[in-house]
Amino acid sequence: MQNKRAYVYGGLLLVLIAVPFALSEEPYLLAIINFTIVYAILCLGLNLILGYAGLLSLGHAAFYGIGAYATAILMARHGFGFLPALVISGLLALLMGFVLGLPTRKVRGDYFCLLTIAFGEIFRLVSQAWIDFTGGAMGIVGIPIPNVLGWQITSETDFYLLGMVLLLFTYVTLRMLIASKYGRAFIAIREDELAASVMGINTSSYKILIFSIGCFYAGLAGSYLAVYQTTVTPSNFRLEESCLMIIMVIVGGMGRLEATFAGVALMTIAIEFLRPFAEYRLLLIGAIMILVLLFRPQGVFGDSSFRD
C-alpha cells in the first residue's frame, strides 16, 4: 500500500518535471501554465481562509501585490537576491494579514468582507498614487533575473520549475497544518463558532492566525510574479483579480486543498477558450460560477459534506 502510493507520487512528479521539456516549443502554453501555478499558490492560501475558516476575503490581490512590490523594490532598487526577497515578501504579507485580521475579533461576516474590499482598493490606490515609492501606474520595471543558489532563472522552463517548487512547498506546508489540531480548529470555527469556543478553541486568535497564514502564500506568489514578469504594475492587483481567485476556489471546492487545483485549472482553461469573446468573457465566467453554485454548490471537486 505504502509502496503503491510512493510509485504514484513518483510518477506524478516525473510527469510534472517532464512537462516543460515537452512543451519547450510552445512558450505561450508554458507561460499560461506558469500563471496557473501562481493562481494555484494564491488560491490554496485563499482556500485556507475561505474554505476552512469561512472568512470571505475580497482583498487577496492586495497581499499578492504586497509580495510583488516588496520583491520588486528590494531586488530592483536595493540589490537583494531573490531568496531573501522571497522570504521578506512572504513575511510582509503575513504581517499585513495579521494587521487586517485583527478586526475579525469584533467585525464578522459581511462587514469583514467589506473591510477586505476596502483594503484591496486602498492598496491599489496607494500603489498608483505613491509614484516615488511604487512607480505609480507605470509600476516598477527592470527587476533583475533571479538567481537561486547559482541557478539563473531565465527561460519559461526555469520559471516553471521554480513555480513548481513554490507550489509544492505551499501544498505540503498547508497539508501539515490542516492535518493537525489547528486544521480541525479552523473547520470547527467555520461550522459553529460558539461551539468551537466551548471546545477550548481561542476563536479570535485562530481567525487572525489563519488569515495571516493564508496571506503569507499570497506574498510568495507575488514575489514569483515580480521576477517572472520583470515588471510590477497596479493593474495586476485589482479587485477583479481577488474575485477571480474567489471564483477559482468556489468552483474547485471550498475546504479541500486538492479541489483548488481543479478549480484553478478549469477556470484558466475557460478564460483561455473565452478569449475570443473579448468583453463578454467576464459575463460568461460569471455564468459558469452561477451554474456551479446552482448544480454543485460544494464545488466541482468539493467535499459533499460542505453544504453552506
Binding site: T173, M176, L177, A179, S180, K181, Y182, R184, A185, I187, A188, E191, D192, L194, A195, A196, S197, V198, M199, G200, I201, N202, T203, S305, F306, R307
Partner: protein, 255 residues
C-alpha cells in the same frame, strides 16, 4: 470538597433579569440536577458558568479560583465542558473529527512542531485519535467513527456531544437537557453512562425536564424559578414539596 461555587451571580438582559443573585455549590464527584419551568434561567445560568455570558454581578469560583468573566475557551481549558440544549455537534464532519475537536486543548501540539517536526506532530495527532476512539467504544459507536455526525440517529448525536465534551477530560461536565428528544431506552443507557462517568470521578451538573430521569440520577436538586434559586434539596424532598409542584403545574403568578 467544593469544586464549583457561585456567589450572587446575576445576569440582566435589558429590563429582564434572567439570573437573579444565584448562589450554589457543587461538590467534587457529585451529580447535581437543576430543574425549573421554561424561562426560569437555567440555560442562562449554564451560559454564565461556561463563559458564554458575562455576569453583571456576582462571582464564580472553580477549584477555589475566580473564573468570573473568563472567555469560554479558557474556562474549558480549566476543566469545565458542556453540551447544548439544542444539540450543537459539528454535523458536516466525521464523528472522529468531532471528538478530536473536543480534545483540542489536550492535544499538546504547537505550530513549531507542526512545521519543524512533522513526524512528532503526526505522532501526537495519532495518540489523540487513539484516546477519542476509546471514548467512542464507551458509548458503542466505534463502528461509526468515519460517518458524518449528521448521519447518526438523534440519540447517538446526543451521546456524541457528551463524548465531545468528555474528550477535553473535564473535571466538571455541564449537560443542558441531555434527554431532550431521546426515547426511554436511550434515556436509560444515558443514565447508566453518566453513572459510570461519576465513578470515574467526573462531577456532573444537569439541567433536565425529564423529572423521572433527574430524580433517579441526581443526588441533589436545585429548583429555579423566575431567575432565582427557589429550592435546593435531595430528590425526595423536592418531589414532595408543594411549592415546587405549584410552580411546575403553573398558577396565576406564573402564567
Amino acid at each position: 470538597m467544593v469544586l464549583l461555587e457561585t456567589k450572587h451571580v446575576t445576569k440582566r438582559f435589558g429590563g429582564v433579569t434572567a439570573v437573579k443573585s444565584v448562589s450554589i455549590t457543587v461538590n467534587q464527584g457529585e451529580i447535581v440536577g437543576m430543574i425549573g419551568p421554561n424561562g426560569s434561567g437555567k440555560t442562562s445560568f449554564v451560559n454564565l458558568l461556561s463563559g458564554i455570558y458575562k455576569s453583571d454581578s456576582g462571582d464564580i469560583f472553580f477549584e477555589g479560583e475566580r473564573i468570573t468573566g473568563l472567555p469560554s475557551h479558557l474556562i474549558t481549558q480549566r476543566g469545565i465542558a458542556r453540551t447544548f440544549q439544542n444539540l450543537r455537534v459539528f454535523s458536516n464532519i466525521s464523528v472522529l473529527d468531532n471528538l478530536l475537536i473536543g480534545r483540542h486543548c489536550k492535544i499538546n501540539n504547537s505550530l513549531l512542531t507542526v512545521y519543524l517536526n512533522p513526524s512528532a506532530s503526526r505522532r501526537i495527532e495519532k495518540d489523540a485519535e487513539a484516546v477519542v476512539r476509546s471514548l467512542l467504544e464507551m458509548v458503542n459507536l466505534s463502528s461509526r467513527g468515519n460517518d458524518f455526525a449528521r448521519n447518526l440517529p438523534y440519540g447517538s448525536q446526543r451521546l456524541l456531544e457528551i463524548c465531545r465534551a468528555l474528550a477535553s477530560e473535564p473535571k466538571l461536565l455541564l449537560l443542558d437537557e441531555p434527554c431532550a428528544g431521546m426515547n426511554p431506552s436511550e434515556v436509560e443507557s444515558l443514565s447508566a453512562f453518566l453513572k459510570i462517568l461519576q465513578k470515574r470521578g467526573t462531577t456532573i451538573f444537569i439541567i433536565e425536564h425529564n423529572i423521572k430521569f433527574i430524580m433517579s440520577i441526581a443526588e441533589r436538586i436545585l429548583v429555579m424559578n423566575a431567575g432565582e434559586k427557589f429550592r435546593e434539596g435531595v430528590p425526595r424532598a423536592i418531589q414532595n414539596d408543594p411549592q415546587v409542584q405549584k410552580i411546575y403545574l403553573g398558577d396565576e403568578e406564573e402564567s
